[in-house]
């Protein structure tokens, strides 16, 4: 009996002795700057950066590593990056490059390489995840291509519906009758912001070019007309992927998937806890 109790006590003690990880650098005393009698060491600089940015830096570095493994850098990405620079130069004028330099970039090219291209590759990574899991993604998010117009009174909505029935093009009818909803063709997903009856109609649509009757949204007192231009997602797969990729929860799912795939592990206890608190899904 005594032996059993001793064994149980020992087990309890051993449980309390599990070691925790530390990510301290090996040369913390290396001097970075000596100001008079004060030496700023590599350790003090590391601790400062580690405390403030450690968790976010690990996630950023990890995503950059994975996206570099999974996604090739393309000419199209550089074209997109250049277009972004052109746009920002238009906004900030000649001060844009100065702004970059003040923020630690050597030039606009450096900014493109360090910020824009990695960001585009992370987006492409999410699209790749959707492509791999396309069947379940399209079941979850039910993408369809639609056009929508809305009006504040039934009379205008019915007039618009009769114009559509007589063959006038959807956007033209929307413009002529001052639709309050943008009527351009767009990719719908279950996350799209429409009244519930409009969403039910779109969800039930199975045919291309299926036109609704007037749908009344009692909550906002609005009258909708919906044209489902493509019900078959395979006819606009790329656009569907691009749209789904913009959804916040999908981006998080994608990162979670790749972090699992790459067996992401954190060995520093403080950073582990920071990541657990900030990105709870990334450490399973």
């Amino acid at each position: 009996m005594k032996k059993i109790i001793t064994l149980i006590c020992l087990a309890l003690l051993l449980t309390g002795c599990a070691t925790s990880g530390s990510g301290a650098i090996s040369d913390p005393d290396t001097a970075i700057i000596t100001v008079g009698d004060t030496t700023i060491t590599k350790g003090s600089v590391y601790n400062m950066m580690y405390e403030s940015y450690g968790a976010s830096q690990i996630i950023a570095d990890t995503l950059e590593y994975i996206s570099n493994q999974e996604i090739e850098t393309t000419d199209a990405m550089y074209e997109e990056a250049q277009a972004s620079i052109t746009m920002q130069t238009l906004i900030y004028g000649d001060t844009f490059e100065e702004l970059l330099i003040a923020n630690g970039f050597a030039s606009t090219d450096d900014y493109i390489e360090r910020i824009i291209i990695p960001s585009l590759k992370v987006s492409a990574l999410t699209e790749k995840y959707i492509e791999i899991n396309f069947d379940s993604m399209q079941e979850t998010y039910t993408p369809k291509k639609i056009q929508v117009m809305s009006f504040t009174d039934l009379e205008t909505a019915e007039k618009a519906l009769s114009e559509l029935a007589s063959g006038t093009e959807f956007t033209q009818v929307a413009t002529d009758n001052s639709s309050t909803a943008a009527s351009a063709e767009t990719v719908y997903t279950v996350k799209s912001d429409y009244p519930i009856d409009v969403k039910v109609y779109i969800a039930d649509a199975t045919e291309d070019n299926q036109l609704s009757d007037v749908i009344y949204d009692a909550e906002n007192g609005a009258y909708y007309i919906v044209l489902v231009t493509s019900a078959d997602v395979n006819s606009f797969k790329e656009e569907a992927i691009a749209t789904i990729a913009t959804l916040d929860d999908v981006e998080a799912q994608s990162f979670d998937y790749y972090l699992d795939l790459y067996e992401f592990s954190v060995y520093d206890e403080t950073l582990y806890n920071q990541i657990k608190a900030t990105y709870p899904d990334y450490l399973d």
Binding site: A18, T19, G21, T38, S44, F264
Partner: protein
């Protein structure tokens, strides 16, 4: 055996319960324990597949994005600390400021205030909440540097920007060219009150139509050539010397009587907006001063590149 089980069944039950309890405790308390890992004597921070990222590599990654700004902050703290001597008054004031800050954090963050405050301090390179008063001393020392610099710059700044502390009384008029009888009557009332010896502040409080300043006796505070007053008002206000009143000044808003409370450095120094105005006018003065002092302290940088990076961050020596 059956007899033993019958005899000791209760003790057996307790043992089984204890073992189950220990097992559960062991699993629960170790599930989030992070096991350390080293490679070639270096701590590993994280890994992806078989790719281990050591603390040294992680330092390089952090350094690339924010190393210079972290060093800049530590560099400034080290300089400021050595440039101004710590006085007993500073220590007392810093302690009071630290207590006030802790109270603010308590009321803002409740039970988690210590974690939040500690995180803020660690992001500035400190280790514990006890360092808050050390940081407050540094702030006070930095204020001394600002005040001394403002003293050095004052003559030139004064000549260019005409700093003043102004107050005014406004008698608002819909069309100042053609005041209504009611507006004229109010204007007369204001003039009479002033002639009767009622103080400027009291008249402003009672009569001024500028509701923003009336409650504080017409006080507008720090003003200089860059303040966005209408031209007629600004010119009249900045032409005044300390203790002088303007004539009634007509603007699109009506008629103003302006009072100049002070133009002297000591009063300006304790007025909100003055130091900001000085260092907006001379944006790199403090940074240049800090680097001059750093040279005097024979500062040694890890590399010329780091020195150049720091100077760029402080906006110093771009043409060198």
């Amino acid at each position: 055996m059956k007899d033993i089980i019958k005899k000791y069944w209760f003790i057996g039950l307790i043992i089984v319960a204890l073992v189950a309890g220990v097992a559960y405790y062991a699993i629960d308390s170790t599930k989030d324990i992070v096991q350390g890992k080293t490679v070639d004597g270096e701590n590993v921070v994280y890994s992806l597949s078989d790719n281990d990222v050591t603390a040294g590599q992680f330092y390089d990654s952090l350094y690339e994005d924010m190393g210079a700004s972290a060093i800049a902050q530590l560099f400034q703290f080290a300089l400021v600390d050595q440039l101004v001597e710590t006085t007993d008054e500073m220590l007392v004031e810093a302690e009071a400021q630290a207590e006030y800050t802790i109270d603010q954090f308590k009321s803002s963050y409740g039970a988690t205030y210590e974690d939040t405050l500690l995180a803020a301090l660690k992001s500035m390179g400190y280790d514990s909440i006890d360092d808050l008063s050390t940081h407050m001393v540094l702030q006070l020392k930095y204020n001394v540097i600002l005040e001394e610099a403002a003293t050095d710059l004052f003559d030139e700044f004064n000549e260019t920007y005409s700093p003043r502390i102004l107050s005014h009384i406004l008698v608002a008029m819909a069309d100042p060219e053609n005041p209504t009888d009611e507006e004229l009557a109010k204007w007369e009332e204001v003039k009479t009150a002033l002639e009767d010896g009622t103080s400027f502040a009291e008249v402003a409080y009672t009569y001024s139509d500028d509701t923003g300043s009336a409650t504080s006796g017409g006080y507008l505070g720090y003003s200089d050539t860059t303040t966005s007053y209408v031209t007629e008002f600004l010119e009249a206000g900045l032409a005044l010397e300390a203790g002088e009143y303007s004539e009634w000044v007509k603007t699109d808003y009506g008629y103003h009587l302006i009072y100049c409370e002070a133009t002297d450095f000591d009063t300006l120094l304790v007025t909100d907006g003055f130091l900001d105005a000085v260092f907006t006018a001379y944006p790199t003065y403090i940074s240049e001063l800090l680097f001059i002092k750093a040279d005097e302290l024979e500062t040694v940088y890890e590399s010329d590149e780091l020195e150049a990076q720091l100077k760029a961050l402080f906006g110093v020596g771009g043409d060198e």
